[in-house]
Amino acid sequence: MSRTCTYREAVRMALRDALGTDPRVFLMGEDVGRYGGAYAVSRGLLAEFGPERVRDTPLSESAFVGAGIGAALGGMRPIVEIMTVNFSLLAMDQIVNSAALLHHMSGGQFAVPLVLRMATGAGKQLAAQHSHSLENWFAHVPGLKVACPATVTDARHLLGLALEDPNPVLLFEHVMLYNREEVLVEEAPDLKSAVVRREGKDVSIVTYGGSLPKASEAAEVLSSEGIDAEVIDLRWLRPLDVDTLVRSVAKTHRVVLVDEGWKAGSMAAEICAQLVERAFFELDAPIRRVCTDEVPIPYPAHLEQAVLPSTAKVVGATREVLGRG
């Protein structure tokens, strides 16, 4: 059975499902309760599950993320919402020095089954301090897992998968996706690997999270020009499903990477390196990256849009890779 809903509603359904089925699960974060979530994701959950299980926290990212880690060690299944990735920097010590390391550093004694959700990305004219895309910082760290649900169906089902994982899983929800309405597939698909969102034979456009709609639109534009683009959604940034990418490149021999992070040291840089290592002789053209310009994200709409990846930029880069620039 299929119906449409928004990305926001899909995340809320996932939260409600988790809270309703597992007494170990609780949600905590800034304004997740009475306010209903900064992006209205958790609206209604406080009334349904009460203040012990939907907990408003003080503005103390380090303390409540660390409390989530401790609660996970103590047998709970906490879902900690950090309002946005921008504030996660205040909890970096807990995420990197505790959550990621404890299992290995304790000789395998202590796993940390923690789910950390946070909004990410730009596009709402929130200026430099509220527009970061720093998923790659976390994907750099062994011990963490990082997923970026890019569709309504993924948003609905990735949370449950993350909660079953005995390791810390970070879920990044792009702010521009919350209002998107799409068909929801009620049955959970296989979410373990990257997914080919559009099959094509001429070029592989690889992306994740909030950039997927831009890549998909670009593929449609290119289609009208006779270019058959394959669009791949990474879904997981750690572990990275390079096999799916290599298979695609073996077919298309050309690659465009779309990533809202700054280009230097980005996920796109890592993927580029992996493809050079594993599929160099399949490539018929240099890999191109469409990333955010190396500048703090500006406030005015025209400047913000100028620095971010766009459908037009993806179309342009793809034409170049195909020698049609």
């Binding site: 926290t57 304790s106 395998g108 897992k145 079953e164």
Partner: protein, 333 residues
Amino acid sequence: MSATVLPEMELTQARAEALLRQMLRIRRFEEKCAELYSATKIRGFLHLYIGQEAIAAGVIGALGPEDAIVATYREHGHALVRGIPARTVMAEMYGKRTGCSRGRGGSMHLFDAERRFFGGHAIVGGGLPLASGLALADRLKGRKAVTACFFGEGAAAEGEFHETLNLSALWKLPVLFLCENNLYGMGTALDRATSEPNIHRHAAAYRIPAQTVDGMDILAVEAATRKARAHIESQGGPYFLELSTYRFRAHSMFDPELYRDRSEVESWKAKGPIVRFKSLISESGLLGESVVRRLDAEVCAEIEDAVIYAESSEWEPADEMLADVYRKGGDSP
């Protein structure tokens, strides 16, 4: 441990022996570690606890097996008193597979799930948020337990200290905060690092009941812990003890100790926890010199056995280590 345990307990011979034994175990273990460091058997950072033994021995002796412990990178003593065998602690110092963290953590990262010993945290202040979460889990699961969270006075300048005190007080979490105030954060004296050097006053500002304790007096430490624990059990919320103490050795083996006078160190050594407790028991006639000698001999034998165990243990093969970054389970990639 139940609320019926009285704050004051009679000092029997058996109890005096047990307390002294624990302090001696820490002292002798660490003296051996310093020796092994010079012999390059132990490497990396080694932070000795010598001088502060009364705190680990006094506090942990007053906790129950259901209680959780979160400690710092100066935690050999806490691990030993908690009951992690000297053998596996020493093997961990060596980095051997038989160590209590499989040799991967070393001196600063001792762990033991069975004994609810949650590390071994080497970022100052980093253990505090985790302790509040353990306490939250205990409460949500309806378990009657306290999380004992040890840290140094240096942590009081960290944001995580203040965030955690606020959260724990706000949510009335069963955390026993134990600030071991040894007066120096590495080489920086407390009054050069904190505008309010009376650390317990920070706790009071968050409406956490707080008191200072003479951390060189094991009986005072034990009594204060019992009282604090009983308070947490009856009131639900956190409690804060500031334990004044002194580290007799350098901060780590790399520390040339340029920041304090020898005379200051010597004056503290004269009132050290073991010297003090020994004079108390000899003056009161509770334990004779022969008993003390026997205890010391038993402790030294335990440490020697631990060294032999560590020496003869094997290293972890590199492929095992690489396979263990993630716990297996679930359906995620």
